[in-house]
Structures are given as C-alpha cells and as structure tokens.
C-alpha cells in the first residue's frame, strides 16, 4: 500500500528576504536581485555580481528560521516522528574561515550531515537524518527521498530542505570555470545569455501522508503526485544536447502522476548556453512546442543545492496564487529555445499541475509534479 503525499508547510529565504511575500514581490514580479557582492571582495573575479540578501547571514541560522516557519505552518510539533533530509554541501564559509584565520567557529557545519542532525535536534523531531550532497539536484533528491519514505509508510512525515548562501568559494570556482554571466544578468532561454550567477536560497518543506494530514487537521497546500530521476550518461560537465536525462525524468514524473501534460513548467533554466537549449529540447520532446515554461533564476540566481527546494516553493506559490512567474532578463529569441517562456511578466492562469525541473553537474536530472489540493 502506498500513501498519498501532500505538502502542509513551507519556509523560504531568497535574496529578496524571508517568507512567501518576499518571493511574490521579487520572483513573481520578475525583479532581478543581482548586485555587486559585499560578503567578499569580488575584485579578483570576472564579475562581482551575485543575488544575495543584505549582510552575512549564517547558513545554519537561516535554515533553522525557514524550518521554524515550515513546521509552524504545518502544525508539526516537537517530538513528532519525521525524517529530516537536507540538500546541502555544508557551510562553505566555515571552510574558508578555517584556512584564512584558523577559525573553528561553525566548522562542524562544513560537514553536511551535521546540518541535518542540527536541524532535527532543533526541531525536536525523531527519525532518520540525512544530507544529500549531489550538487544542484541535492534538495530535489531530498524531496523525492522524502516522498519515498512517506509514500512507503517508512515515515509519517518528512521535513525536506535545501540550503545555500552566496560565498566566495563557489563564486571563485564558477568564475574559474567561466560559467558566470559576463554581463551581470542571468538571461534564461534568451539570445545572448552568457551564464549563471549565484544566489541565496534556503527552503524547507513539510511532506506527510494525506491520511495523517487529515487526522491532524492540517491544511493541505498541494499534492506531491509525481517525480522522476534520471541521468544523461553523457558527459561529466555538459548536459546531453537533446536533454535525454531531463526528458526521461519528466516522463517518469508525469507517468507517476498519471498525467500527459501540465499547466506550467518551472525549468532549471540556468542561463548557460548549453543547459537552456538542452532543457528546451528535452521539454519539447515530452510536452510539445506550446509548453508554458519559465525559469526564475533570472531573479534569484542559481542557488546550487537549494535550487530544488526553493523552486518547489515557487511552484507551490504559482499553484496557490494562480500566477506563472516570468522569465526575467529575456533579451531576444534564440532559435535553439523555442517554447513559451513567459517573458512579458507574471501571467494569471488557472494552474492545476506544475512540473519543477532541476539538473546537476554529472548529468543528473530531477522532475517533480505538484497538483492543486
């Protein structure tokens, strides 16, 4: 027997600040959050631009704040049985501080599993505690693992998270790989797109079985009805040009949900030349040429391990509000990207199903279907 999996709570932090309203005011309004970095000296790098909230927030604290918001919304109390699954590579600032200053404060959070354990302890939840470290599909993988645990009855609930805050280590690495946008703007699916920029992202979701949600009297925000995971088996760094793995993941997710189409796709859409054309090809092969797609990374930046969880929240808000968030910074059509990218601004729509896609280095792809409660 399998349990239906539903969403009953969320918390979110982006460069626009904490909470859903900040996402509505920034992401759904199509406002890019990019500015010159202030958390580190960006002068050695080709671009100074990132999408970061003001100040120097601590990853663990932001994660705990978002988790507090999520479990409060869900009404999940201390002592409950719930898995805690966090998509994160750990706190990179602790690594840098160690080598720069021999500072050990917060060093334990450089171990990803410690973030998951610390979150479970903070929330007083009992169950397995795991960190997913597979880069840009890490938190999507955590959410899918949470689905598996709840659906199979292994756990009555799962608190699934993703956490990344802008810092110098990854900015330097993406800069060295010449992956950062040269013109200071992320332009998903647009002609002239030149790369990604990093952005703050932390999100926490509460998943549980529909049965326990009913028994607890919890408000169901959406149904988590499908998912897929597939690999390209093509290249260590480049996506398959036809989006083979992405298409396979999307097909799995639709099949699991019993759907042949969806009303909106929140794409991975990094703004890199290779990703966006590959993703377009994969999507066209599964959903056809009239698919409504947007990438919200033109506003938030690329949140690395947190992308799946934050974009799950964005997809959830799209369902709840009946609004498709736009693709920001779109400049001009690229013949290799020929879908409907919602470039004119936010679009009102009666959304019943949303597909959220993510991809990662190494050819990993995830797809998640959310449906109206």
């Amino acid at each position: 027997m399998t349990e239906e999996v539903v969403v009953t709570g969320f918390g979110v932090h982006t460069a626009f600040g904490r909470g859903a309203q900040a996402v509505r005011d920034g992401v759904f309004a199509g406002v890019p959050a990019f500015a010159a970095a202030t958390r580190f000296d960006p002068t050695p790098y080709r671009t100074p631009m990132t999408a970061a909230a003001p100040g120097e927030p601590v990853l663990r604290e932001v994660l705990h704040d978002c988790a507090h918001d999520a479990v409060t919304m869900a009404g999940l109390n201390r002592g409950a049985q719930a898995a805690v699954l966090v998509g994160s590579a750990g706190d990179w600032t602790a690594v840098t501080r160690f080598w720069r200053e021999r500072e050990e404060t917060g060093l334990a959070d450089s171990v990803p599993a410690h973030l998951a354990q610390g979150l479970a302890d903070r929330l007083g939840l009992h169950g397995r505690r795991l960190a997913f470290t597979n880069a840009c599909v890490a938190s999507a993988s955590a959410l899918i693992h949470g689905w598996r645990l709840v659906s199979s009855g292994w756990a009555p609930a799962a608190v699934c998270a993703g956490a990344y805050l802008v810092e110098e280590e990854n900015h330097a690495k993406f800069d060295s790989g010449r992956a950062l946008a040269k013109d200071g703007a992320v332009r998903p699916f647009s002609a002239g797109r030149s790369g990604l920029l990093l952005g703050d992202g932390v999100a926490v979701l509460v998943l549980e079985s529909a049965r326990t949600a009913r028994e607890r009297g919890a408000r169901v925000l959406a149904r988590f009805t499908g998912w897929g995971i597939a690999s390209d088996a093509y290249h260590v760094a480049k996506p398959h040009p036809e989006g083979r793995g992405m298409a396979a993941a999307a097909r799995q997710a639709l099949n699991r949900a019993g759907l042949s189409t969806v009303d909106y796709v929140n794409a991975h859409g990094t703004g890199t030349p290779l990703n966006d054309s590959a993703e377009t090809n994969g999507l066209r092969s599964v959903l056809g040429p009239s698919t409504v797609v947007s990438s919200t990374k033109g506003t938030t930046g690329h949140m690395l391990e947190a992308s799946g969880a934050v974009e799950f929240v964005i997809s959830l808000l799209a369902l709840l509000d009946g609004v498709v968030p736009p693709t920001a910074n779109y400049f001009a059509p690229d013949p290799a990207c020929d879908l409907d990218y919602v470039t004119e601004g936010p679009r009102k729509a009666d959304l019943r199903q949303v597909l959220s896609l993510n991809a990662a280095f190494g050819g990993m792809n995830t797809a998640i279907v959310l449906e109206h409660a």
Binding site: Q117, R128, K173, D232, G362
Partner: protein, 175 residues
C-alpha cells in the same frame, strides 16, 4: 524486503589505484571508480534499471581543502578542482562508462552510514522500475580541516582511505 549481494569490492588500506583520466590530486575519485568498476564488471543490468548511491561523511575533503587553500592564498582557481570536489563528477563519469541512466545519489549521515546506505537501497528497490542498486561507501583520511571538524562531532576519522561497493538486488526467492 530481503536484499541479495550480487557482487562486491573493497579497498581498505594503501593500494596503488589506477588513475582516472581528468581526476587529479585526490584519491577519492579513483577509489570510487576502482570499487565501482570492479563491482559492475561482467554484470548485465540495463542502465535505466540501475541506481547508484554514494555515501561519505565528509566527501572529498582533499580536493575541497586544496581548492580553499588556493583561494585564501590568492591563487587562481583550477576549474578541474571544482569539478572533482563534488561526488557528481565521478558518478557522472561512471554513468557514462556504464551507460547508467537511473538515479545517482550522494548522501552524508552521522547516524550510521552502513545501515543508511542499505536502507536507501531497500527503499529504492521498492520501485519496480529498478532492478539493482550499486551502493558505494568512501572515506578518506581527513585533512587538517576535516579532522578539526570531525573532532567536534561524535564521529571517528578513518586512519587510512577506504572504499566499499556492493551491488544489491531484491532476493529472487522472496515472496
């Protein structure tokens, strides 16, 4: 569900590992590649029905810390080091080599890695779309930073690099 070990491989102690093209500086990726290829050799499993799960508490600390030391010394980053610091790199390499198009996962836990990897394999194999799961466990002798971090946790650092691979499937005689 009862799991059956279809094949296994292990490195526990000093050993000359074959180089893996494109991977430098750290033993992490050669260890993963060595045990994985030994485990998968001669196995006939469709790539879309095989999942891979890699577990490591601190991951490739050698590459992570080398890159960080270069950063604080003001040296230009080597993009190769970025690629190698995430487990995705070697998992992607393996997926191409063996045409694995199923799920690729990387985990970190403090609650008993062995049990968690086996539980994850069992959970994955509840999916009728999968026939087998390649489970990989890898830990390196910690770097100075990783050793300091581990000293703050209820965790034990290995004295030498180690890696293990198990290819698991559902027991065929299970009702």
């Amino acid at each position: 569900m009862t799991l059956r070990v279809r094949s296994s491989a292990k490195v526990d102690g000093p050993v000359d590992l074959p180089a893996v093209p494109g991977f430098i500086e750290s033993t992490f990726n050669p260890l993963v590649h060595h045990v994985a290829t030994n485990c998968l050799a001669g196995q006939d499993i469709p790539g879309d029905r095989l999942a891979v799960v890699l577990g490591s508490l601190v991951g490739d600390c050698t590459t992570t810390d080398l890159a960080s030391r270069l950063l604080v010394q003001g040296q230009v980053h080597n993009a190769l080091l970025f690629m190698q610091a995430t487990a995705n790199a070697v998992l992607g390499y393996l997926s191409r080599e063996f045409d694995i198009t199923g799920p690729l996962l990387a985990l970190s836990t403090m609650d008993g890695m062995d049990d968690e990897l086996l539980d994850t394999a069992e959970l994955l194999l509840a999916d009728p779309g999968l026939d087998a799961v390649l489970v990989l466990g890898v830990e390196l002798v910690p770097t100075e930073r990783a050793a300091h971090a581990l000293s703050l946790l209820p965790a034990t650092a290995p004295r030498h690099d180690l890696a293990i691979a198990l290819l698991l499937e559902r027991h065929p005689e299970e009702p």
